[in-house]
């Protein structure tokens, strides 16, 4: 486009580009298609993300704190979570191996958590002792409900040094 030669400064002072009708319509169409494309992609993504899940709730009640003796590791099979009580307090450790998602087991005689699939070993607080798992087991958010029961949220992971004191 040769706007520099043919188009001296317009009367209102703005430097308008000399755009042909065809280019203008092409750009408008391209812009509209881009907006429509991004909109459709967003809409499809949101359509495909389920709002209601027909699966086990990720938040669950683990019962009265007194059910768990001090210095104990309790595996909640259904929830795939270890509830650990130390002198300092409570924490909830995932029982799903960080390697490939198998369910780990608590070995009280050796004081470790072991994965039956590929032999990863973890401390009772989820810290990795040996692989093939690349990471330690995450800690889930654990709280007391108003009526004094433990409640674990498996969607929320917290720092390993955070302990629920009772």
């Amino acid at each position: 486009m040769s706007d520099e030669k043919t188009d001296p400064a317009p009367a209102n002072g703005d430097s308008l580009r000399d755009v042909s009708r065809r280019d203008f319509l092409n750009e408008i169409t391209l812009g509209a298609l881009t907006v429509a494309g991004v909109g459709s992609a967003t809409l499809t993504y949101r359509f495909l993300s389920p709002k209601v899940l027909f699966e086990q709730s990720t938040t669950f009640r683990a019962g009265d704190p007194d059910l768990y003796p001090v210095n104990s590791v309790t595996c909640l099979q259904d929830q795939q979570v270890f509830i650990v009580r130390t002198v300092a307090g409570f924490y909830a450790v995932s029982a799903v191996c960080t390697h490939l998602g198998c369910i780990t087991q608590w070995k009280p005689e050796e004081n470790i958590i072991v994965c039956p699939c590929h032999g990863s070993e973890f401390e009772p607080d989820g810290k990795k002792i040996q692989g093939p798992a690349a990471h330690s087991q995450p800690h889930y958010a654990i709280n007391l409900t108003a009526d004094g029961e433990l409640e674990v949220d498996k969607l929320q992971t917290i720092e390993a040094d955070k302990v629920l004191k009772i």
Partner: protein, 248 residues
């Protein structure tokens, strides 16, 4: 008998109906033969002329053709399996058991589908290696090589989505492990996994999602890319033939 069949065919070819379908009928010249191939929907993606050395076994070992035949077998056996399969849990597992022990010839159809699927993955890889070592990715075939890579990925995706459908332990854990790999993608990994599974764990909605991918979306894409792949072989000037193919 042979003569009467031949004359019957000749008179059929003379009818108005036949001529309306096959427009280049009496293909006596090379041009008429070419037009007959080009003008037919089912033949137009085949080359009008073929170098005879590209038909030798050692040129291709027919690996691509065999992959295509397996795809056809998989479509046919897969459609038949669909008549008995519900993509729900735990019904999916029971349907698979029914196919094995109750449905007449069910075990044949199921195993045909299973074995053909595994064989297709194997042959597609063999095809890829063979084309690679012959330099089939070089110009003018470089676009068709990329189409081939897409087809390889589609084959693997079809294989993977189909793996969940029997809803047995192997299926459940394979998909659990596989989709955990998705969630290690930075930033979007967990969101992608959530949409792929339709939840936080492999469950009922996962089976339905994988079923839809397995029986309609991926086969349709595979069909389109296979058509493009074969058509491009012709448009890129035929198969890669090396001069040494003339020997022996």
């Amino acid at each position: 008998m042979g003569a009467s069949f031949h004359s019957a065919l000749q008179s059929l070819r003379a009818t108005r109906g036949w001529k309306s379908i096959f427009r280049h009928n009496s293909a006596v010249t090379n041009r008429a033969r070419s037009l007959a191939v080009r003008g037919n929907l089912l033949l137009h993606w085949l080359p009008v002329k073929v170098k005879d050395r590209s038909l030798r076994v050692r040129t291709t070992y027919y690996l691509g053709s065999m992959s295509l035949m397996l795809f056809v077998i998989l479509v046919v056996s897969g459609v038949l399996l669909m008549f008995y399969y519900h993509p729900t849990t735990p019904q999916a597992y029971n349907d698979m058991k029914d196919l094995r022990f109750v449905v007449t010839n069910g075990v044949l159809m199921r195993n045909l589908h299973r074995v053909a699927a595994q064989l297709m993955v194997l042959l597609v890889f063999c095809h890829m290696f063979h084309v690679f070592y012959r330099g089939g990715y070089k110009p003018p075939h470089e676009f068709n090589w990329v189409v081939g890579i897409v087809l390889l990925l589609l084959t693997l995706a079809l294989s993977y989505t189909g793996y969940l459908l029997p809803w047995d332990q192997l299926a459940f854990w394979a998909i659990t492990v596989g989709t955990n790999i998705i969630s290690s993608v930075p930033l979007i990994g967990n969101k992608v996994r959530f949409v792929v599974l339709g939840g936080h764990v492999v469950g009922e909605s996962t089976v339905l999602r994988f079923y839809v991918l397995h029986v309609i979306i991926l086969p349709l894409l595979a069909f389109l890319f296979i058509a493009l792949h074969i058509w491009r072989v012709q448009k890129d000037g035929g198969l890669t033939v090396a001069s040494k193919d003339d020997e022996g």
